[in-house]
Amino acid sequence: MRIEVEEFLRRLEVGLRCTLPTMVTLSLVVLCAVPYGIPGLNKVMPLLPLLSVYFWSVHRPNLTPVLGHFLIGLLQDVLVGTPLGLSAAMFVGIHAAVHYQRPFFHGKTFLVLWFSFALLMTIIVLLSYMVVATYNLSFVPILPVLLQLSLTIAFYPLLTRIFQWTLRALMRTV
């Protein structure tokens, strides 16, 4: 009996560790929607959830189902107020891009990964900019978009350090 309980707890623990990447992305979506009252940050919050999608798709592809990313993207659209489906498409786009370039990402150094992230983000953000301009049928100021893009790229080293720590401390076995 005791062995069964232990086995159940062990499985539960492994299960919880496996959901960590999705949970991290989900929490970032919610945390980014909170109003911080810091001038400027309210207008251009770095796209931290996208950073999380990229990191986990590169490092733990088996634990990040694309459907999960799609649904979290929809949640982001609802919380932020962007056209429903926009962030979902961005999340799936990043996921798919990493999926098809997997051999390239394997065993690369931090700098290469950072540069690839910057490149990928630039493409995705510019595409989303065009989608939003088409959606609104008007010119959308591009400066805040570029500012948001640069902020996101600048946040990469800090956030990936935290993710790396999570990976080493909590997910070594999964």
């Binding site: 919610v30 945390l31 980014c32 929607a33 909170v34 109003p35 911080y36 009252g37 810091i38 001038p39 400027g40 940050l41 309210n42 207008k43 251009v44 919050m45 694309v66 459907l67 799609f70 993207g73 929809l74 949640l75 609802v78 919380l79 932020v80 107020g81 962007t82 056209p83 429903l84 489906g85 926009l86 979902a88 498409a89 799936v92 786009g93 996921h95 798919a96 999926h99 989303s128 989608v131 939003v132 959606y135 609104n136 008007s138 959308v140 100021p141 805040p144 978009v145 500012l147 948001q148």
Partner: protein, 310 residues
Amino acid sequence: MPPPGQKYVLRIALPLRAQAQRFGFIVLLALAFTLMVFARTEMMVVERFRTNVLDMFVPVLSALSHPVGSVRDVTSAINSWTMLHQENVQLREVNARLQRWEVVAHKLERENAALKTLLSYRPGPLASFISARVVGGSGSAFVRALMLNSGSRNGVEKGHAVMDGTGMAGRVVEVGQRSARVLLLTDLNSRIPIVIGTSGDRAILAGDNSDVLYLDLLSPKADIDVGMRVTTSGHGGKLPSGLPIGRVSAVHEGGVKVQPFVDFDRLEYVIVANWTMPVFEPVSASKDKVDGGLPGKGEEHEHASEGSPP
């Protein structure tokens, strides 16, 4: 060495899996774009989905925004300590100016009361106010919106004006049971009919996702100067007239810019105002009824703007 059966299964299953994955990406992307088209056509299903999800997450955001609020209080306390002297000087100046205004206001109030008696004026319906907490900012480069923790069960409805103490901030565009989304004046899609100063020139106030608003559809004959007050005109029947919005900050060939009174970065609590719009009635039934004009708070502003500064 795997048994031969398994080898065949793998040979078929692996490419199948890859195909399924590719198919999955395409389906999800197509779904996302379909949803965007649905959202664009303002389908009820999309709106209901949005409001239901918002309702679910508003308690979480509400709980999270409390500690954030206290951090904000501490930083603003430090700021106000460092700026104490400067603020004091400013407040003295403002106080002196407001005291002069008070005299004008009293005079206008008496005059107004007297004129109302002469006209046997019946005041319009009073507004009801709902206080709400801002629990979500947009943080996106594409939209300027806020989320409130009050919804239809508190009496918030689509189209209601949202203000803080200084002026109008936006209007309600989505309402759930206990949540509402406010489209700020600065958003790309915000269009508000306004009137400028006391001259009565009308225009449409539009946002472009930046901090400054601009005037659209302004008559070329309009005489606009920097510093003129901009208030809602009440045209279109969705908003009351006379809500303060901002001041004209620049006039040039390219257009007229307006600096809003509201500091959008520091909105924490807002007022959702519900004005019952005057209904057109047959003349015989309401012969002595005069359009209620602006009741409540906005009325003071309107009158203040009409009086000549001392």
